[in-house]
Symmetry: C2
Subunit: 362 residues, 2 copies
DNA sequence: CTGTTAGCGCGTTCAG
DNA sequence: CTGAACGCGCTAACAG
């Protein structure tokens, strides 16, 4: 109602309008130092009369804190990351900070660029679900720390780097799910979403290494799968793990291949949402029913798992909690508590529904 | 490898390290003005020797542009908004800007606070899926404009405010879906996700107004539903529209109520994802099958709609495109083009699958 | 308790 | 083509 599009009012203009010195205005508006009730009133009145809003940039310049944290994930449109980021931003908001989010498409180069941008913007801290799999490929993270910016990892840990990480126990979760399948009598269990390599590794070790090289969580989940197999003395069959591009389309193809084997899997463990939908489509194409013909357990509980026919047994990840916890750990670091790269592990839950049935008799 | 945790290096330190004047360093590092190749080299070398990174805050102070845009949505964890925000941030990234996102839980008060924060941070522009339903409740948006910050609306328009908005044609989309149902012979069609009022309005006008008062999209979709009914001369039955809290649990309850009527709906039009899952659960509880017993069309195509049994017919919204388009419109405004509050309408698509079957004979 | 003064790090005149 | 000086809006020590 006042100005048209001139420069926003500054604290000096408020001071003039109120007829006081700059710093008196600054003190009341900035909420620090002492100022008499009368002047205080005058300043406040003047401020909103001319529509004053503090310039947070200028404030950050002086104080050195931006009240902004940075978040780097692979893809914000992925509901998992959407949930995590929401958790982070809620916790940040509670502490008076805002959140800038950058998606990297799982490319390390974009992650490095994103980190630099956040350093430039002088964010107070960074939370990152990194595509880096070892310390060697995480120099950009150390660079942030060199600039005095605390970093905490979320969803994915990076071994060897002394960094705090908030994660779930992927290995134990996977193991639990596969054990559930084995308990139902299954011995041929497909693993959907394996290492993204063109050539199928034949040896266990190679398989795990290949998976881990791509993504920390992938390696852990595959490990858990093997743990369960080992415990029950089931021999590992490399042909039962999906290999290649991690897309729904390719999962469809790989599961189709498995189903066509002479000794096909009677159960499937899907480590990701797209792996699950791909598997479901493969079953449909093969005219096989969930549970009745092939049992199934998925990762990342989604609302729709409930309304499927039959309802799907899933491993639930606490997405929001991963985010809020990561933010809490970050703020602790921002406030000076330097910690020794702990691994903060949150619980998962196997939600049993009806997609696991007893294995068919031989 | 160099500093421990001292203050980040400034441009002056680079100048000293390179043995040149401050502004020579500033010119090469800032990429403006002329500087001899030799000195240029020296400066660059010195810069990365001491790990210099420009302070974007200081730069913004001088230039007045922050290379940051703000986004306000109801809930980032909602896959729809996740997609929209991803689209926005991709487009912004392409133009060298970053994105700070704030969730408001659909509360106007939080939206106002969020707007103020963004004004304070001097973002270059704001994109907002507003909870405001009319100009009177959107004063915070005008305030942003008063501060010279362009604003564009996404997903939801606000009538009466001369603001650019990037939306889909909700009314036409809803109408198309309902017409499809009518074409299949249905005449008793339930509308799931109606006005969130405790008391069920009996008159059409009241019903629409109640819906529109809560959310612009809700009003439009209900209008489209009525348009289709009118066209085919089907009488409106207030008992076929859900009323009350917009949650999956309540949808379950309301659809259960409809199904128990003496003249129950033979088809359901669900305007939201949670409305859809709620409806699906209600059908399951009533031991009714999708298509065979009750036809169904949903809004917001999701990957899982494909793997349901039967696959679901859905209205697809271009989430990413909504975002990228909104960002483009915003940047046009940032660069000075002032436009006259246009409505940018993107296309939706009715994806026909198998959840619509002919209505049962009477 | 209030006003004055000096920076924060960078962009941008303006002389040399 | 290079270096010195001033200002962006605010905080923070300092006198009065």
């Amino acid at each position: 109602m006042t100005s048209e599009r001139s420069a926003p009012p500054t604290i000096s203009e408020v001071a003039i309008e109120a007829g006081v010195g700059r710093s008196t205005a600054a003190r009341t508006l900035g909420g620090y130092g002492y100022v008499s009730p009368e002047l205080r009133e005058r300043v406040l009145a003047a401020a909103d009369r001319i529509g004053y809003r503090a310039n947070a940039l200028a404030r950050s310049m002086s104080t050195g804190v931006s009240h902004t944290i940075g978040v780097i994930v692979a893809d914000l449109a992925n509901p998992f990351f959407g949930g995590v980021v929401r958790g982070i931003s809620d916790a940040a908001h509670e502490r008076g900070s805002d959140t800038v989010v950058i998606s990297t498409n799982e490319h390390l180069s974009e992650e490095v660029a994103a980190t630099n941008v956040l350093i430039d913007k002088r964010v107070d801290g960074i939370i990152i679900a990194s595509a880096a799999v070892d310390a060697a490929s995480a120099t950009h993270i150390e660079q942030a720390r060199d600039h005095g910016i605390p970093v905490v990892l979320v969803d994915r840990a990076i071994p060897g780097l002394g960094l705090d990480a908030v994660v779930i126990d992927n290995r134990a979760a996977a193991r639990g799910a596969v054990e559930r399948l084995i308990a139902a009598g299954h011995r041929r269990i497909g693993f959907v979403w394996g290492p993204p390599v063109p050539e199928r590794p034949r040896r266990r070790r190679e398989m795990i290494d290949a998976a881990a090289r791509s993504l920390w969580t992938d390696g852990e989940r595959l490990q858990g799968y093997l743990d369960a197999l080992d415990d029950e003395g089931i021999v590992f069959d490399a042909d039962l793990v999906m290999v290649g591009e991690k897309t729904e389309a390719h999962a469809l193809q790989e599961v189709g291949r498995m189903l066509a084997m002479t000794d096909p899997p009677t159960a499937l463990f899907c480590t990701e949402t797209d792996a699950l939908t791909g598997s479901l489509r493969a079953l449909r194409e093969a005219r096989l029913r969930v549970a009745a013909d092939v049992s199934l357990i998925g990762f990342d509980d989604s609302s729709w798992a409930t309304v499927m026919e039959p309802p799907l047994t899933m491993i639930e990840q606490p997405m929001l909690a991963l985010g809020t916890r990561a933010a809490e750990v970050l703020f602790a670091a921002v406030e000076g508590q330097d910690s020794r790269g702990e691994l903060h592990t949150l619980d998962t839950r196997l939600i049993e529904r009806e997609s696991v049935a007893p294995a068919p008799r031989l």
